[in-house]
Amino acid sequence: MQSENPTSHKGGRTLPEGQALLSVRNLKKVYHTDAGDIEAVRNLTFDLGRGELVCLVGPSGSGKTTLLKCIAGLMNSTSGEVRLDGQKVTGPPKKMAVVFQEYGRSLFPWLRVTENVELPLKNAGVPKEERKRLVAEALEAVGLDHVPKSYPWQLSGGMQQRVAIARAVAYQPEVLLMDEPFAAVDAQTRADLEDLIRSVWKKLGVTVLFVTHDIDESIYLGERVIILSSSPTIVQEDIVIDLPAERDQLETRSLPRFTELRHHVYAEIQKAKQGHRPEEAITMVAK
């Protein structure tokens, strides 16, 4: 029933030298454990252009978090490299901010909402006046300017994740990495947060890499979706989401094109689960 296949690359799409903001090249990660080696990520290559909003989607256990941690500089890859603005990533770069899935554990419970948002700026030596302005702006952008004095644990899950997003936004990153940020919030809150991400992205022009296991979410949010295979992970497919720029929870999701894309991604994920792997990627591994 697919009327038109999406524009896609088998394997990850790359950009010409100098145009990519974030490049991942032949990334491989093997965990050495007492029970033997586990190859979590086999070979990943893709680029993010400046200002893109890209979703990474893959079956559970496909090494999404591992990949994200390698990109964020929180974990060393076994081979291959990540470059941000041409600079090789060896530790967490200044221009990156991460929003974790476990908002309850990533926000510091001993700090109030504003203090949580302010801390990275304070640590970076941003002057007080500037700091105040950035924090206020970020809290306003996520719709939380009314609870600055609360502690995070006094807020609902969705609001806590807003605080974490505000903290990331206030840090003024060039790249915003999000690791399944909405996996632990209820459906209604999730929809609101998805729209929040779209609006923040548009307003600030930041580049976003959004990891999720939810197919609908990846299509609704992304301008591009990178589908990962099951572990050991390679890029299964890299597709362009040609939906209108203005997204709306009801309208966009009921577009026939949305359904087509959803079917396409779903089929790819099913293939990935069954162990099908695109040839290009396999030959790339072989060489």
Partner: protein, 279 residues
């Protein structure tokens, strides 16, 4: 929606972390290295003249003295005296605290009525009672018992009160509506909930009891290892004194180990322990 939830719990994260590569030497080897370094340091201090050997004999000499002690009946009698005071004192304190804790804890009136008194008596240091103990009992074992019971009683009582307060109201009302008697409610509803708290109290009290047993022996002269330490010190048998001190340390380690094992055994069915085991 197509979703496959991935485990994101703390336990899973920890399990993952423990599967990560363990770099270098196993833990017990490192611990052994620590012990050897410590003993080596101790051995060298008097040899290098950092301290005088008559005040801190080298480790080898002290360990030799301890080995000699281990073959002496007098040493084992002293250990037996200390452990007897420890065990009797702990048992009295636990029994008293358990009964009183249950009675007070199960009555909201008594809980409020006794609160101020408990909060006032609890922080009073047991050693304040030393002169009283001497006056009343002299150097008999009762002196040790007075100090031990006083200190341990509060440790256990507080835990029992916490435990009873933790009893689920719904469970209690259910029991009541099924016509459970007071004794049945205590046995089937309150006691199981309170047990982990009681065990925590006993574990804390067990080490406190040893501290006060040794204190009483050291200061008052009631029979036991502490008295032997005081005698060795005043008699100038410095290696012997250090050997006895080592022995009290090992006693402490043994008590900590045993109470931890017992706690785990008794509570093996309890979620708080099972959770700990998986994490």
């Amino acid at each position: 929606m197509t979703q496959a939830t991935e485990p994101s719990t703390r336990a899973a994260a920890k399990a993952k972390a423990s599967r990560l590569p363990s770099k270098g030497l196993p833990k017990w080897v490192l611990g052994l290295i620590g012990i050897v370094v410590f003993l080596g340091f101790w051995e060298l201090m008097p040899a290098l003249g950092v301290v005088q050997a008559k005040y801190l004999p080298p480790a080898s000499e002290v360990i030799a003295a301890l080995a000699t002690d281990l073959g002496l009946t007098a040493f084992w009698v002293a250990v037996g005296d200390t452990m007897a005071a420890w065990a009797i004192g702990l048992a009295i304190a636990v029994a008293a605290a358990l009964v009183l804790g249950l009675v007070i804890g199960m009555s909201p009136f008594l809980r409020r009525f006794t609160n101020s008194t408990i909060e006032f008596l609890r922080p009073i240091p047991s050693v304040a009672l030393i002169p009283l103990a001497v006056l009343l009992f002299g150097i008999k074992i009762e002196s040790s018992l007075l100090l031990i019971v006083y200190a341990c009683f509060w440790q256990v009582l507080i835990q029992v009160l916490y435990g009873v307060a933790d009893v689920d109201n719904v469970a209690m009302q259910t029991a009541r509506s099924y016509g459970f008697s007071y004794a049945q409610r205590v046995r089937d509803v309150v006691f199981p909930t309170m047990l982990p708290y009681l065990m925590t109290g006993i574990r804390l009290a067990a080490s406190v009891a040893l501290i006060l047993a040794i204190t009483a022996e050291l200061l008052i002269g009631s029979p036991g290892l502490g008295k032997e330490i005081a005698l060795a010190q005043s008699g100038g048998a410095i290696s012997g004194m250090y050997a006895l001190i080592l022995a009290t340390g090992f006693l402490g380690v043994a008590i900590n180990g045993v109470t931890r094992v017992v706690e785990k055994r008794v509570l093996s069915w309890h979620p708080s322990v099972r959770g700990e085991a998986t994490a």
